[in-house]
């Protein structure tokens, strides 16, 4: 078959099984868009800003496990995509971004809408390609998808000059059946000797904790993790990125750990004698001061990425490989040793953890107080959303206090249901990522928990939601200020609130969303909260935006004491620390 470059590109994406392309057209991508117009297998979603395209593709990828695909033009189209690419990179999300480029003979001449996309994106991609000839396009697409979705996943950029998509020049097309990159060989199966050492460590532990992160979700290893713990009964904590990989309503679940982790999760980690770190990378929001991290723990680290292991915290046993394969290997070995598991051995440890939880655990019943004497608590909003959505919605969030409240109070029982920018912390992520999730799962409930600061960073995508009829439920936890910045200013800068307020210039969100054809609900009193949230969920065919005015003085707790604190050093409420 003979095809032109633009058709080779699009046909390759179809052969790759792509359902949606999130993008925005422009000069250098015009030939490609003409090719998109002439096919029916994939749907192009026209966003309102390229950042929205990357986040939507990212949300699609996080929810489905399949790579998200983005199409942008050169210059500003490419640079606008950068924040979303960096977001995906930090959280190891598979994504393929295709950027148009000026014609080959113009490269390097400062041509109209020329920018060095490969150079700009280099530090925030897993890999990138410049297309140098039409006959290489199919091979490059194949390699890009392979790299994005294997090993430690991540975004891949393909930059393609306009002349190489010219519809007049035809070339042989055959999509490669397989791919083999001789310099790329991510680990898959763990070494047996390491697995044997891990099993011994498990059998000998008195105060163990499983600390599972986003890598466990990327590797689709939730089932294996739950199976492992059905044999060994360890307490389990999840990172912000790992929430849902172990059921939050299981009695062995401790909640999230780290900066705003639960008291019992942080105390268990600090006092552990064995930590099984599974697809987690000991980032600074987890460890607090690394020198003071879990002083008595033996560290077992499961990861697909060599460079993550012993980067921050030295591992005693390293298990390289896909987490799924490693856990399968552990499970089959431990099944032969069931008689050697002494369940009473860790009973005292479970009692200790129960005591911690009892003393300073989170209060999940705040929503029951519906009196109008006090302002609405943001935590109670999340609790109402949890109950009204029956605990099984996809929840996306933005970044800040509302994100932490969502992570603390919505109990995620399944992986891929909690979608947030954990690594880069990108405000503006919530709404566009919810679009990607809703397109992937049109029959599922998709909730975006956001704040009045974050939502305004990508609010233009409300228009995209109306074009494609995406009935997302958006809950705007409105505290009239940049709450997390304000919290730090309260705690570390004697309450000097520098540049965190815009109270007098906020839009009327209800009126704003209605101008896009959506439904707006404004809630200012506790007594209106339950009905308002239930009403939002009862509307099935429309996007509903619920603007909830909450107590502007509320802080997120627990919060690790920094600098120089350990995981046992936490603020538990205003002025009260451990």
């Amino acid at each position: 078959m003979k095809l032109a470059g633009n058709d080779i590109l699009i046909q390759s994406l179809i052969n790759e099984g792509v359902e949606y392309i999130f993008g925005y057209p422009g000069g250098a991508a015009l030939h490609i868009y003409d090719s998109i117009f002439q096919q029916k297998e994939m749907q192009h979603i026209l966003v309102r800003h390229e950042q929205g395209a990357t986040h939507a593709a990212d949300g699609y990828a996080r929810a489905t496990g399949k790579p998200g695909v983005v199409m942008v033009t050169s210059g500003p189209g490419a640079t606008n995509a950068i924040t979303g690419i960096a977001t995906a990179f930090m959280d190891s999300i598979p994504m393929v971004v295709i950027s148009g480029q000026v014609q080959s003979h113009l490269i390097g001449t400062d041509a109209f809408q020329e920018t060095d996309m490969i150079g700009i994106s280099r530090p925030i991609v897993k890999h990138s390609f410049t297309v140098d000839h039409q006959s290489n396009i199919a091979q490059i697409i194949k390699e890009a998808f392979h790299i994005a979705t294997s090993g430690r996943q991540g975004p891949v950029v393909i930059d393609i000059p306009k002349d190489l998509t010219n519809p007049d020049d035809l070339f042989d097309y055959e999509y490669p059946k397989e791919v083999n990159i001789r310099s790329y060989n991510p680990p898959l199966d763990p070494e047996t000797s390491q697995i044997e050492r891990v099993v011994e460590a498990i059998l000998n532990a008195n105060q163990p904790v499983i600390y599972a992160g986003g890598g466990t979700i990327s590797s689709n290893a939730s089932k294996e993790l739950i199976e492992l713990n059905s044999y060994i009964n360890f307490p389990v904590t999840n990172t912000l990125m790992g929430l849902g990989v172990y059921p939050a309503t299981d009695d062995k679940f401790l909640g999230m750990l780290g900066m705003h982790g639960t008291f019992q999760a942080n105390m268990a980690m600090h006092n552990a004698d064995l930590i099984l770190a599974i697809g987690a990378r000991f980032d600074d929001r987890i460890t607090n001061t690394p020198d003071k991290f879990a002083p008595n723990a033996q560290i077992v680290h499961f990861d697909v990425d060599h460079s993550s292991v012993s980067k921050i915290i030295e591992a005693d046993i390293a298990v390289f490989g896909q987490v799924k394969n490693s856990l399968q290997a552990i499970n089959s070995l431990i099944k032969e040793r069931l008689n050697d598991i002494d369940k009473s051995k860790i009973q005292k440890w479970h009692s200790q953890i129960a005591e911690w939880k009892n003393n300073h655990g989170l209060n999940h019943d705040l929503y029951k107080d519906e009196s109008d004497i006090k302002p609405i608590l943001p935590q109670a909003v999340v609790q109402h959303i949890y109950h009204a959505s029956k605990g099984n919605a996809f929840v996306t969030s933005d970044v800040g206090q509302h994100q932490m409240f969502a992570a603390q109070y919505y109990h995620f029982d399944e992986p891929r249901k909690w979608i947030n920018s954990g690594g880069l912390g990108t405000m503006g992520f919530g709404l566009p990522s919810a679009m990607g999730v809703k397109l992937a799962y049109p029959d599922e409930e998709v909730v975006c928990i956001t704040g009045e600061g974050s939502i305004q960073m990508c609010i233009q995508e409300l228009s995209t939601c109306s074009q494609y009829k995406l009935p997302i439920k958006i809950f705007n936890i409105n505290n009239l200020s940049l709450g997390m910045v304000k919290q730090w200013q309260d705690m570390n800068y004697d309450g000097r609130h520098s540049s965190i307020s815009y109270e007098d210039s906020l839009p009327d969100f209800k009126g704003l969303v209605e101008s896009y054809g959506h439904i707006g609900i404004k809630i200012t009193k506790n007594s209106e909260l339950r009905d308002g949230i239930e009403k939002a969920f009862s509307i099935k065919d429309k996007l509903v935006f619920v603007d909830v005015y909450v107590d502007p003085n509320e802080h997120v707790y627990p919060m690790l004491v920094a600098p120089n604190g350990s995981l046992k050093d936490m603020w538990l409420s205003k002025g009260n620390k451990t």
Partner: protein, 109 residues
Amino acid sequence: MIERQLTLIMENKPGALARVVGLFHQRGYNIDSLHVDPIDDFTQYKFIEDELNIKFSMGEVSRLIIKTTVGDALMRQILRQINKLIEVIAVSDNESTYLKGILRDENLL
């Protein structure tokens, strides 16, 4: 902190060198010296061809020699970060080698 030498064998493709140099800056490491040339005599690297079951042809692969002054832990981290670059076939410091992603306990390059 001592000066160490890293040797890389990598695909001779446009942009590959920029990825290595960029990585040093991005991760906060310093390059004391850098030497790069295409490999024209593969005798010394036949074991790589055997290992990968391929035959290199002229101009296809480059050798980079980088000198940097760092401590032990950082050296290991640099080695692992370089090994992650898709176009790097093998990388070695004084003590160990990553060959197509797999760690060996000796300097093979």
